[in-house]
Subunit: 147 residues, 2 copies
């Protein structure tokens, strides 16, 4: 880390500086205790500063999930789809049923016979354990198969 190198450098300079101070400038007889205390104080301050510096940017980002009134973009529970063994075609029919169309209308829209639609919806009901289309729609919505 850059700080450590910087720390070492500054430390060395400080020591040298203190030595100079003792030998060249003050020329006073300081006791070793005072000398040590000086060094200690300087380095302690520097350490605290370094510690603060190192931890200053330690911002703990707490992602709090807040219930925001969001137009929940629908995502299909694909796992459930596969778990129930619902085929893509059945899913289409399911959506059309949920939109309120009759079997006949669905048949015309999808260009298949009404019997085919009946077959699909029957299988769908079986897989959803529903006995009516309204129940199928309700359960499908619960299972997040349709919006």
């Amino acid at each position: 880390m850059r700080h450590v190198l910087l720390y070492g450098l500054v430390g060395g300079l400080l020591i040298a500086g203190l030595k100079l101070v003792e030998y060249r400038w003050l020329m006073v007889e300081h006791s070793v205790e005072i000398y040590g205390a000086l060094v200690a104080a300087v380095f302690a301050a520097f350490g605290i500063w370094l510690g603060l510096r190192m931890t200053r940017r330690t911002q703990t980002v707490i992602v709090r999930e807040v219930a925001v009134a969001a137009p929940v973009d629908f995502v299909r529970d694909q796992g459930r789809v596969e778990a129930l063994g619902i085929t893509p075609r059945e899913l289409e029919i399911l959506e059309l049923i949920a939109s309120g169309m009759s079997n006949r209308e669905i048949a015309q829209r999808e260009c298949v016979s009404e019997n085919t639609v009946k077959t699909h919806s029957s299988r769908l009901f079986g897989k959803l354990a529903a006995r009516r289309r309204t129940e199928a729609v309700q359960k499908a919505r619960q299972f997040r198969l349709i919006p």
Copy 2:
């Protein structure tokens, strides 16, 4: 702060300890530089530790609002209800239909005859301009009459 007092105390003890070490135990002629480096290292470490300790709780809590599937508390569009002239009873029947029940089941649940349920739903379909219960449910949901 408690930490500062503790720091001073430990600092004094350390200095005293180092003095003892120098005078009583090792009795070796250490250069002032080494002695200073020792003290510096100890106090620097202590300072860093103290700095870390002091700033540990300085967590900047950033609350990031995340759009989460908010079960938007449903509020019925009472205006629409009145505009369509839908009666409370019809609204009840509508909810039961939307929950996937058959006319017979609704009749039993509400302790009325199946014919009554049929009448209610028929009127409901008329007011909602729906020809099937699934369509009625879809439109009612669009109109925010039901969740």
